[in-house]
Symmetry: C2
Subunit: 163 residues, 2 copies
C-alpha cells in the first residue's frame, strides 16, 4: 500500500461527474469518479468550510469519536469493473484494529475530517495523466467555488440554472 494525498476535486467534462484526484509522492495518479454530494463533502473538508449543522460526514466523525474509536487510516484496495473498494480502518476502544467496507468517496470524506492518512494499492496508481485535454485553473476554481456554495437544498435551483 502506498500513501496518497488528495490533489483536488475536478470535474470530468465528458460525464459531468466530479473526480477525486489522488496522487502519491512519485506523481502517480488515482482518479476516482464520485457523486456530487460525496464531492461536496470532500471539497467542504478541503476548503475548511464551516456549516452550521453537521453534514452527514461530520456526523460520522462525531460518532467515531464519541464511541471512543479513532480512524487509523483509509485503504483503497481494488477496482472491480468500474467500482473502487476501500476499508475504513478503525481502532476500537480496546485498541484493536477493525476494518469496515466503505466506498472510497465516503472513506476520503471521513479521513479528511479526522486527519487520517489514505493508502492505495500500488497496482491502482497510474503513471500518466488521464485528462483528454488540459483543464485550466479557472475551470477548477469555478468548480470549487460552486461546490463551496452548494447545499443539498440548493441543488435543484442550481441545476435548473445551469442545465
Amino acid at each position: 500500500m502506498i500513501q496518497v494525498k488528495i490533489e483536488g476535486v475536478v470535474l470530468d467534462l465528458k460525464s459531468n461527474l466530479p473526480i477525486i484526484m489522488l496522487k502519491d509522492d512519485r506523481q502517480r495518479l488515482l482518479p476516482i469518479s464520485v457523486g456530487i454530494f460525496e464531492a461536496q463533502a470532500i471539497a467542504f473538508a478541503l476548503e475548511k468550510v464551516h456549516i452550521p449543522r453537521p453534514l452527514t460526514h461530520d456526523l460520522i466523525s462525531s460518532i467515531i469519536e464519541v464511541l471512543g474509536s479513532s480512524l487509523l487510516r483509509v485503504e483503497i484496495t481494488e477496482l472491480k469493473g468500474n467500482t473502487y473498494f476501500a476499508w475504513l480502518v478503525l481502532k476500537t476502544m480496546e485498541g484493536e484494529e477493525t476494518k469496515i467496507d466503505s466506498r472510497p468517496s465516503d472513506a476520503i470524506a471521513i479521513a479528511l475530517r479526522l486527519k487520517a492518512s489514505i493508502y492505495a494499492n500500488e497496482s491502482l496508481l497510474i503513471k500518466k495523466e488521464i485528462r483528454s485535454r488540459p483543464i485550466d485553473d479557472n475551470e477548477i476554481e469555478q468548480f470549487k467555488d460552486m461546490l463551496n456554495k452548494l447545499t443539498p437544498n440548493m441543488l435543484w435551483k442550481y441545476l435548473k440554472e445551469k442545465i
Copy 2:
C-alpha cells in the same frame, strides 16, 4: 416526547424538495423538508432496496454496530428558524447513553436501518395537514419510483432529462 412513524416521502411541488412526513398515532403530522440525497437514503430503507455497495447511511450503521454500540432512539427536539434539530441517542459499549447532534434527515435514515424508534417533541406536531392541494397516489408512486431508481451518479442524467 411522542413516538412518530414515517408516513412517507412526498415531493413539495412548490419548492421541488422532498418532505419526510412523520405522524403520531393521533394523526398529528411533522413534515420535515430534506435534501434529495437524504430523501433517497430514507426511501431506499423504506422500500428495502438492495444496493451492491454501502451507501453513506449504511456505512454509519456498520460503524455503530462494529464499535459495539447500538441506536436506542432518535429524538427530534426543536425547530429554530427553518431548521429542525435532532439527537442520535446511542448506547455505548459500557451501557451508557450518549447523544450526538444530527440533522433529522440523517437520524431518520439511520433509525430505519437500525430499526430504532423516532420520537418528536410534542410541540412540533401539527394537527392539520399542510398540503395546499391533495397529492394523488399516482404522483407519490411516481416519485417513490424515481427515488428507488436514482443513484447519485445518475442524478445529473436524470435532471437533464426532467428539467
